[in-house]
């Protein structure tokens, strides 16, 4: 299992690294924006990071739903791994948004803004999801409890995405819509390429995390079997039962 899986992870990592490098080159070769100047290049990492975070939380919900039907531990591993990577990319999205926000908006973060506040809440909820997983030792209980949160928490994803349309926000609305794009073709090409590159990075990290999850389970199973063999089963009438039934 591990040899082929390891090779797959290495190949995916190498491919993701190569495509990401190309994505960086494309992002840096875009012309400066008329209003935001070179700061606009941050969109090539900010938007793909948030896209991957939404995708990851969607996969967590999917894994949680399928686990509830199948009770196959693999789906629980998928949900947990995806939430972990989703948290990583939400942090990246928030940090890059803050770095961009200070020179363009004049603030790093504003709790009054629906997009920023809802993204921060999204992050906190999924950090809570990861804490819940760590707090439960029994794998069945862990899968059961976290699957409920994994299904409920995904409701936030459309709320975060549409918050800029539903409420008055400092954050701009979507640049890519079903009817077309408001971006220059050169900038759009770089953004779309980076969306693909970040998705590939997600797939590579997921494959690495899934291999680790399987190894963690194998170690846990070995620990349980080692602990089980160390327990001496009680025997009826043994010295530890002295007094019971003697009279």
């Amino acid at each position: 299992m591990t040899q082929s899986a390891q090779m797959r992870v290495k190949l995916l990592m190498a491919l993701a690294g190569l495509v990401s490098a190309l994505g960086i080159w494309l992002a840096y070769s875009t012309p400066p924006d008329a209003l935001q100047r070179t700061y606009a290049r941050i969109i090539n990492i900010h938007a793909p990071a948030m896209w991957v975070a939404f995708l990851a939380f969607g996969v967590t919900a999917l894994g949680s739903i399928v686990w509830r039907f199948t009770r196959n531990r693999r789906w629980d591993h998928l949900a947990g791994a995806s939430a972990e990577i989703g948290v990583l990319f939400t942090v990246i999205g928030l940090v890059t948004g803050m770095i961009w926000g200070k020179p363009v908006w004049g603030v790093y973060f504003d709790w009054a803004d629906p997009r920023m506040a809802s993204t921060a809440v999204l992050l906190l909820v999924y950090v809570g999801y990861l804490a819940l997983r760590r707090a439960t030792i029994d794998p069945e209980q862990r899968a059961s409890r976290s699957s409920i949160l994994g299904i409920v928490a995904v409701i936030q994803v459309p709320l975060v995405y549409f918050s800029v349309n539903l409420m008055r926000s400092l954050h701009q609305t979507q640049s890519i819509r079903p009817g077309g794009s408001t971006m220059h073709p050169t900038m759009l090409r770089a953004l779309l390429f980076n969306l693909g590159a970040f998705t590939l990075v997600y797939v590579a990290l997921m494959s690495a995390r899934m291999v680790v999850a399987r190894l963690e389970e194998a170690r846990a199973a070995r620990e349980v079997s080692a602990a089980g063999s160390a327990v001496i089963p009680p025997t009826l009438g043994g010295p530890s039962l002295g007094g019971i039934g003697d009279g």
């Binding site: 070179t38 941050i42 990492i45 990246i92 940090v95 890059t96 770095i99 961009w100 990290l205 170690r219």
Partner: protein, 41 residues
């Protein structure tokens, strides 16, 4: 800080965090494989 430097910081933070996570997974994988091999012996 200049405009280009701010953009560079954003890119360094992003790919730094991704590399940190990938390295963490790699090290955990190596440690778990070693532990499992030891208990097998």
């Amino acid at each position: 800080m200049g405009e280009a430097a701010v953009v560079n910081v954003a890119y360094i933070v992003t790919f730094g965090l991704i590399l940190w996570y990938a390295t963490r997974m790699h090290l955990r994988h190596r440690r778990l494989t070693r532990e499992l091999d030891q208990t097998r012996d």
